[in-house]
């Protein structure tokens, strides 16, 4: 990856980081209702993977999906407006933090039932193959999702039909508050299970955007060539708690410290320096990111609430919600 590309990745990660920070602050200010699951710390996975995909590939994410929406073309303003229940939100304030979706760019949704989207990604890959479009589908999911039945069914079906789909596990060591190691029979919850489906299972440093992009690019090439699905397990860590105001006190201080030192933005910054990119250039990227997110916060704050009548639309394809005559 050349320095220009890496700088672009860096800036995108910085935008995500700041958007997540803004979401956190807005939550504390009472401007975000319901719940949020922030992806600060996971940026390199979304950004690295997206960079390795074609624009028309499909992405499916979880309730912790802000980074994927942003990496696939949603703007911070659209995302924050959604979280703040504004009419201008990505989903018109009908979805909320857990369901960010930008279908127009192939980001086909964030799903809040653990594991449910894995079969959907398989189906999108099947569809791509049936249409001969050359697209692939990628499902991002957590370590905890590897213990649910849908994971098993999805991977087997994808393998049997040799579909162009990648299963990217964001292993951040925890379900909600319980260490994944306490409830999983193997060390690498995703990668160690790939052999049960006869497919490759790779492990990558999920905080290294370059490594992620390379790994996804290689597996995507393979999938597009008709060689079938693969599992990629990306090791990472979340900077915030699981959701809302969880202080994550269940995580050992030493562990937190070690991982914060292995921050995706720091890693990228280090690589940029190695590549000879001047500090001012990086700082300028940071500033652009800051500006974008600040403007987004203001714009979202100023946006109107949804029209209450919107509650009774969008059930059916014709826009209506009528269930009877």
């Amino acid at each position: 990856m050349d320095s220009g590309e890496l700088l672009a990745r860096y800036e995108q990660m910085a935008v995500i980081r700041r958007t997540e920070k803004a979401a956190h602050d807005l939550f504390l200010q009472g401007l975000v209702k319901g719940t949020t699951h922030l992806a600060a710390g996971h940026e390199a996975i979304a950004v690295g993977a997206s960079a390795a995909l074609r624009d028309d590939d499909y992405v499916f994410a979880t309730y912790r999906g802000h980074h994927h929406a942003l990496a696939r073309g949603a703007t911070p303003e659209e995302c924050l407006a959604e979280l703040m229940s504004r009419a201008t939100g990505l989903c018109g304030a009908k979805g909320g933090s857990m369901h960010l979706t930008k279908a127009s760019t192939g980001m086909l949704g964030s799903y809040a039932i653990v594991g449910a989207h894995l079969p959907m990604a398989v189906g999108a890959a099947w569809s791509a193959r049936l249409r001969g479009s050359g697209q692939i589908a990628v499902a991002f999911f957590g370590d905890g999702a590897t213990n649910i039945g849908a994971f098993h069914e999805a991977l087997n079906l994808a393998a049997v039909w040799k579909l162009p789909v990648l299963f990217v596990c964001e292993n951040n060591l925890y379900m909600e508050y319980t260490p994944i190691a306490d409830v999983t029979a193997v060390d690498r919850p995703a990668a160690d299970r790939a052999p049960a489906y006869g497919i490759p299972g790779e492990v990558v440093d999920g905080n290294d955007v370059v490594a992620v992009q390379e790994a996804v690019a290689a597996l995507a090439r393979r999938a597009r060539a008709g060689d079938g699905p693969a599992v990629l397990e990306a090791a990472t860590y979340r900077h915030f708690g699981h959701s809302r105001t969880d202080p994550a006190t269940y995580r050992p201080a030493e562990e937190v410290e070690r991982w914060l030192k292995h921050d995706p933005l720091d890693l990228a910054r280090g690589r940029l320096t190695e590549l000879g990119v001047p500090e001012e250039t990086v700082t300028a990227a940071d500033e652009r990111a800051r500006d974008v997110v600040e403007r987004a916060v203001e714009a979202a704050k100023g946006a109107p609430p949804p029209d209450p009548r919107e509650a009774l639309t969008d059930v059916w394809a014709d826009g209506s919600a009528a269930w009877r005559t």
């Binding site: 499909y58 499916f60 939100g89 990505l90 989903c91 018109g92 304030a93 009908k94 979805g95 369901h99 979706t101 930008k102 279908a103 127009s104 086909l108 949704g109 799903y111 039932i113 449910a116 989207h117 894995l118 079969p119 959907m120 990604a121 398989v122 189906g123 999108a124 890959a125 099947w126 569809s127 791509a128 049936l130 249409r131 589908a137 039945g149 849908a150 069914e153 999805a154 087997n156 079906l157 049997v160 039909w161 639309t313 969008d314 059930v315 059916w316 394809a317 014709d318 826009g319 919600a321 009528a322 269930w323 009877r324 005559t325």
Partner: protein, 326 residues
Amino acid sequence: MADVITYREAVAEGLAREMRRDASVVCLGEDIGEAGGVFKTTAGLLKEFGPERVWDTPISEQAIVGAAMGAAMTGMRPVAEIMFSDFLACCWDYLANEIPKVRYMTGGQVTVPLVVRTANGGGLGFGAQHSQATENWALTVPGLKIAAPATPADVIGMMAAAIRSDDPVVFFEHKGLLASKGAPAPPEHVVELGRAAVVREGADVTLVALASMVPVALKAAALLAEEGVGAEVVDLRCLVPLDMSTVLASLGRTSRLVTVEENPYQGGWGATVVSVVADEGFGLLDAPVRRVAGECVPLPFADALEEEVIPTVDKVVAAVRSLAAY
């Protein structure tokens, strides 16, 4: 065109017509290919359309319906078979939480034009886990259209409507009707979803029925006619959209209502119909509304026991008589 076709043949025919018309229609399910389905309702499809249109799956109900959803969101019109409707429970998350909600929760960004077909209902001695009428499960979930045809021609016409629908449709094929015969459907036959049919006219009482309960209601109506009671029979055809206009219009003529449903009384679809009537049709009613429904027990194996649980012609006749006495 044959004189009569079976309901079973009508399923395969309905699928074939749409597959011929639209290359984006693909089928997936367990044993639906070479085997033609355990109920032979996909017989001939693999041969005509080949393995890129008719896909055998593992025993993975979640993957089947989940994959259908993903394909529907990306340009295909998948038709997924869940072998017995009881097994919808194995992929209920997709029916309850994913498929019917994704359009709404994305603010209308995606459509999910898929059909989940399934063999529904009892009366064949298949026991507690292979005999349920589960259309009421689907009724609890806003965002699903629910079709349950009673005749071969309706199977074909409603299958066409379901597959062409841009909304998700759960399509209940009644096991007890598979061998039944009826007039074939003319070419290009489409029965709009959400249109009930008055299948027998009568002035004294309205019987509202669905799927295998339609012939039960019709037989009851014939017996009642001998007693001088005119029963009008409404075949709902769909639970969503629910054609209450037709039901209320019939009630306007008869002033008496009995619903006939295979669902258990508790939580059965008849309850929803009756609750609309008890509100909007209250002024039309000359007598209590009665529901002939399944007993609130699992389905037993032995014929003699199953008959106690599922509505029969006798039970319908008795219910109507009890109202006439009112």
